[in-house]
Every structure is written in C-alpha cells, then in structure tokens.
C-alpha cells in the first residue's frame, strides 16, 4: 500500500509540473541581447534595465491580453563570436521576440540566425548600414542608420566652416562604416579628408594618432567610435595643443565622456541620439530609472525603453504570440515614445532621423545653435 501511495504522490507531482509547464508556455518571453560584459558593459546594463522597466510596467497593467511577459538576457559582449553564441541561446530558449544589440559588429552575424528562425528582432543601438543589407526582413532598426548620421555630420562641418577633416575610427563595423560614409559624403560636398586613421579599442595612448592629425593640418577631427576612446582622444588632442574642432559620433553620448574629458571636452560637438536630457517628456522616466536602478539613465536608456514599449505594443496588435503576425505588426508600427516617433520604411529602418547636434558647455550637452 505504501508503494502505491508513493506512486500516487509522484503522479500528482508530475501532473502538477506539467500544468506549470503549460502555464509557462502561454507566457510571452522577450529575449534581450546586449553587451553585459566587456568594454561597453555599462551601455548593455542600461539597455537591459530600460527594457525591463517597460516590460514590468506592461506586466503591472496585466500583461498582453492577460499573458504575463518574461525576459531573458544574453550577453553578446559586443563581440561577433560571443554574439552568435548568445543569439543561439535565445533561439533555443524559444523566445517570442528579441530586442537589443548595441555594436553593429556583434549584431551583424546574428541577423542570419534570427532570420532563419523567423524571430522578430528590434535593434536598439546598432545602426551600421551593413545591417540593412543583411536583414532578412525580420529585423527592425529603431535607431537612425549611419548614412543619416553622415548627412547630419556633413551639415555640421559646413555650418562650422571646416574644410579639412581628419576622420578617426576604431576599426569595428560601426565606426569604420560611419567614417567611410562621412568621408564620402564630405568629399561629395566639396570637402577634403586630411587624414583617415584607425585606433585600437581599449588602448589608452593616442599620441601617435594625435601627432599625425596635428601635422596633417586638419581643421577638425571627427571621431566615429565610442566614448571611452573619444574622451581620451579629446584630452590628448588638446594636450598636444590641437586648436581645431572636435566632432563625435553618437557612440560618445555618455556622462562618462564629459567626466573623463573634463575641461578638454568644452566646445566639443556631438551627434546625439535621443537621450533623456534632450527629451522634454522624459523627466519622469529619468527620475524613475534612477530610483529603480540607483544610477543615471545612459544614452540609449530612453530608446531602449521605447523599444520595450514598442514590442509590447506590436505583440498586443498582433493579438497572438505568432512571430509572423508580430513582424507584420512591427512593420505597421506608428508609435510615439519618449525619444520620438517610430515608423519604419520598407527596409525596416526609421523614417525620420533622430540625430541632433549638441555641444558640450559647462560639462553638459546643450543643443547646438
């Protein structure tokens, strides 16, 4: 009798397990892919936090059509190889949709994995034009692409009267693409490229490059890579007595840039993505972010939060967890978030550029006149 009683208990337990599994399967699982380790871990942390904030808010309102939303995070470390592993992990976990991606170099090889699996993927930060070409139709770029930024950059150069530009990148997909596009656009507009240099990520000493730029006679430097290198480069340019203008790509929008560059950063121009400080309606979000996570919202926090809301909105409009329906719903997005409007072109890129030139004044980014 004892034995059969045990069996009964086992059977009940198993049935219970099966029921919880069934309940879990009805949930919607969103994969977040971002650099959680490596050089850009702090941006990745911001992206994860902001997306989770949006998802938590949706769950607090009862989820999507009564289904709870869960998230799972995969670390791509901004490294192409690790990104492939992270992408495969998310696919094998059976996620409904994926959001994230900061470095274009790391996002590029994953597009095929997500495309083959037919998973809707909204890219938050990465914006190289190479991504547009490699997209299989399931990926959406929520950030303006590199060519939009190149146009904004050339407009700024002309307005400031720069004639000879030195372009410096870090050799990765994003920064070399932006450097190339800007150099071409500037040449077409009648400008001259005085020097085109590449540095090593993680390096502290830029003196050799600085010396070359200075001796090339450039009016201004355009740095297309990220803030860690940008701050060091700015400092070392000013230390070597470079008097010309300094313009930074959107990867430099971080409070850390201003902190590290210090007084050397004064008067530096930045092509800014829509950050919380530049957005009029983001004050509540900024305060809530700080309260929830104990740190300031970084450059892509607002956009990440919008993408979190966007995916919830798309799944709700698709009225099911069917991935094809979600992709169609994303295509038809007409979404207004903190960072502005999200409407996609037929290539799944943003219809309107979200870059704004800003200038560093008194350790703050203010809109450039």
């Amino acid at each position: 009798m004892v034995v059969s009683f045990k069996r009964l208990a086992c059977a009940t337990a198993l049935a219970g397990l099966a029921m919880t599994a069934a309940a879990a399967a009805a949930d919607i699982k969103i994969g977040i892919v971002a650099p959680m380790t490596g050089q850009l871990a702090s941006e990745g942390q911001d992206m994860e936090n902001a997306v989770k904030m949006a998802i938590d808010a949706a769950n607090a309102k009862g989820g999507i059509n009564g289904d709870k939303i869960t998230t799972t995070t995969a670390d791509d470390a901004c490294d192409p190889q690790q990104a492939v592993t992270a992408g495969s992990k998310l696919i094998s976990e059976g996620v409904t949709a994926i959001v994230g991606g900061y470095c274009s170099g790391a996002v590029l090889p994953t597009l095929k994995i997500y495309g083959d699996a037919g998973v809707p993927f909204v890219i938050i930060g990465a914006n190289s034009t190479k991504l547009v070409a490699a997209n299989q139709g399931n990926a959406f770029l929520a950030n303006s692409t590199g060519d939009m930024q190149a146009t904004t950059a050339v407009e700024l150069f002309k307005k400031n009267g720069y004639k000879k530009i030195a372009v410096i990148d870090e050799g990765d997909a994003y920064s070399s693409d932006l450097a190339k596009l800007t150099a071409e656009a500037f040449k077409n507009a009648g400008g001259e490229i005085a020097a085109k240099e590449t540095t090593t990520a993680g390096e502290q000493d830029y003196s050799a490059v600085v010396t070359k730029v200075k001796s090339s006679g450039a009016d201004a430097v355009f740095w297309t890579a990220y803030h860690a290198g940008g701050a060091l480069l700015t400092k070392q340019l000013r230390q070597a007595g470079f008097q010309g203008g300094i313009v930074l790509g959107d990867g430099n929008n971080s409070p850390e840039y201003l902190e590290i560059a210090g007084s050397a950063g004064e008067g530096v121009f930045l092509l800014s993505p829509p950050t919380v400080d530049l957005l009029s309606g983001a004050a509540d979000f900024k305060a809530k972010y700080k309260e929830t996570y104990g740190r300031d919202a970084g450059a892509y926090a607002a956009l990440s939060h919008d993408v979190g809301d966007l995916i919830v909105d798309a799944i709700a409009r698709a009225k099911s967890a069917d991935q094809k329906a979600i992709i169609e719903a994303l295509k038809a997005s007409d979404f207004k978030g903190l960072a502005g409007e999200i409407k996609f072109t037929d290539k799944n890129t943003l219809q309107t550029s979200n870059f704004r030139p800003v200038v560093a004044k008194g350790s703050k980014w203010v809109a450039a006149e």
Binding site: Q45, G202, T211, E256
Partner: protein, 303 residues
C-alpha cells in the same frame, strides 16, 4: 617626416614606452625567479589604477588634486597592490609550484580572470574619471609642446626602474633573488628562504605595475576594468624583446616598443591601424630568431 614630427614621436614613444617598461619589469622578474608567465600582471596594473583612484579621491579633500594627491595615491597603491601580489602568489601559485608548467600557466589565466571579473562586478563596467589638476602647462621645443607632467612621468618611471635595478644588483635580497632564479634547490640548501624571496619578487613586481597603473590613470585621466588587457600584452612583448628574466632588458624593451609604435604609425603610406601589427610582428620575429631577447641570457636546459 619633418624634424618636429620626429621629436614629437620621440616624446610620445618615450612616455608610452616608460609605462610598458614598468609593467614589463614585473613580468620579467617573476619569470626570472619562478619561470611563470604571470598573465594576471596586466590586471594587477588595473587594480593599481583603481586603488590609486580611490586613495586619490579621499586624500584629494585634504591635499588637493595636484601632485601631492597623486604621490599619496601612488605610494598607498604600490603598497596595497604589492601585498595583493603576495596574496595571489601565496594562494594561487605557491600550491602549484611543483606542478607541470602548463597547470601553473592556466592558474595564472584564472587569477587574471578573477581580478578582471571582480573589477567588472564592482564597477559595473564604468569608465571612471581620474581628474587631476596637473594641467597642460609645459615647455615648447620648436613646435613640440612637452608638458611638465610628461617630464615628471618619464623621470619617475626611470627612477623607479633604476631603484629596482640597484636593489637587485646591490642588496643581499637582490642577490638572493638572483640565486633563486639560477637554482631554486641549491639556494634552499644554502639557507635562503625561497618562499620569502619569491613573495618579495611578487611584491616588488606588483608594486611597480601598480605604480604604472596610478601614473597612467592620472596621466590619461581615465580608469576602467579592461585597461590591463592590452597593457599586459604589450608589456609581455616588451619583456620578450628585452630578454625575459632581465631587469635592464625589460626597461630597454619597453622603451624600444614605445618608440617602435610611435614611429611605425607615422611612416608614410602606413596608417595608425598598423601600429599593433608592428608590435606583435616584432614579438613573433624575436620569438623565432632571438627568443632570448636583446639582453637575455640563454638558458641551458638541464636534463
């Protein structure tokens, strides 16, 4: 290349070279004494920079953000991180001393990851500003601007290295270090406390790396958990070029590597993206054609 450019790149090369030399010294000393490539050395440099930044932000309130603060940070960090080196040796390397070479090499990689991972967990991957009041004032040599900070920096690292060289060649402890590096077993029979000598080697090597870390942090104005990675690789290259195991070799290798980088990337038709190709190309050439480096002794393998 114009003369100005030659002088400017000389200054650039000497500065970055003196950082390489400081870190290479620790690599070289540890290798000399226990034949271990201490992969954690780059992370010790990074730890030094962080300890220095913490001390700097505390003492800065009293002594200001100028030289006094930097020197305080330098001394405290060298002491603390020197002890960290001793602790790492005691718990990670000493139990492995008689294990096969490969095992201890993997232990060193593990120690590197522990330090790197701890720093990432504690700092959240942020880049911290190391803001000093050192400023950009300096001398103008024709069209080349050399700041006082740069002069002090090169002088300080040369002083540290010369002190180290004097310690190794003139004192009893230095003699004991050299004896242990030649034959550990015989040294023990001669009454040398081998464990203490090895601990001392780790202390001094780590303290120098920490000194390099604080100086680099203050000079470049930024500190982050990943800063030791490339520095570790470059310092290793410098140690090999100079002759691993040799103290003057590490200094020479570091300075040469710095100059190679500076001049290599300003060659006509060669972009700065080729800089690391020169560095690691030199490493391969030395390993193939002169593995003992410029000043290293050839080691006779005793069977």
């Amino acid at each position: 290349m114009t003369l100005d450019l030659v002088i400017q790149q000389l200054v650039n090369g000497l500065i970055v070279g003196s950082f390489y030399a400081l870190i290479a010294l620790g690599y070289s000393m540890v290798f000399g004494v226990i034949k271990l490539l201490n992969f954690a050395h780059g992370d010790i440099y990074m730890s030094g920079a962080f300890v220095g930044l913490i001390v700097f932000s505390f003492v800065g309130v009293w002594v200001g953000n100028g030289w006094a603060g930097v020197v305080c940070a330098l001394l405290v960090s060298m002491l603390a991180v020197g002890l960290l080196g001793v602790v790492i040796e005691r718990f990670a390397y000493r139990p492995m001393r008689n294990a096969p070479r490969l095992s201890i090499l993997i232990t060193a990689l593990g120690a590197s990851m522990v330090l790197n991972g701890t720093a990432l967990a504690l700092t959240g991957g942020r880049h911290f500003a190391f803001s000093t009041d050192l400023g950009f004032a300096g001398l103008d040599v024709s069209a080349v601007h050399i700041t006082y900070t740069q002069i002090v920096l090169v002088a300080a690292s040369i002083l540290l290295m010369a002190g180290m060289q004097a310690f190794v060649s003139r004192t009893m402890y230095g003699k004991a270090m050299r004896a242990v590096s030649i034959d550990m077993g015989a040294s023990r029979l001669m009454g040398i406390d081998v464990d203490r000598v090895i601990a001392l080697t780790f202390f001094m090597g780590s303290a120098l790396a920490a000194g390099g870390g604080v100086m680099a942090g203050a000079y470049y104005g930024s500190v982050h958990f990943f800063m030791g990675f490339i520095m570790g690789l470059k310092a290793f290259t410098a140690a090999v070029i100079g002759g691993i195991g040799s103290v003057p070799g590490a200094m020479l290798g570091g300075l040469l590597l710095g100059l190679l980088e500076a001049y290599g990337s300003s060659l006509p038709f060669v972009g700065s993206e080729w800089r690391d190709v020169f560095v690691f190309g030199a490493l391969i050439l030395f390993l193939v054609f002169k593995p003992t480096g410029l000043l290293g002794r050839s080691v006779v393998e005793r069977v």
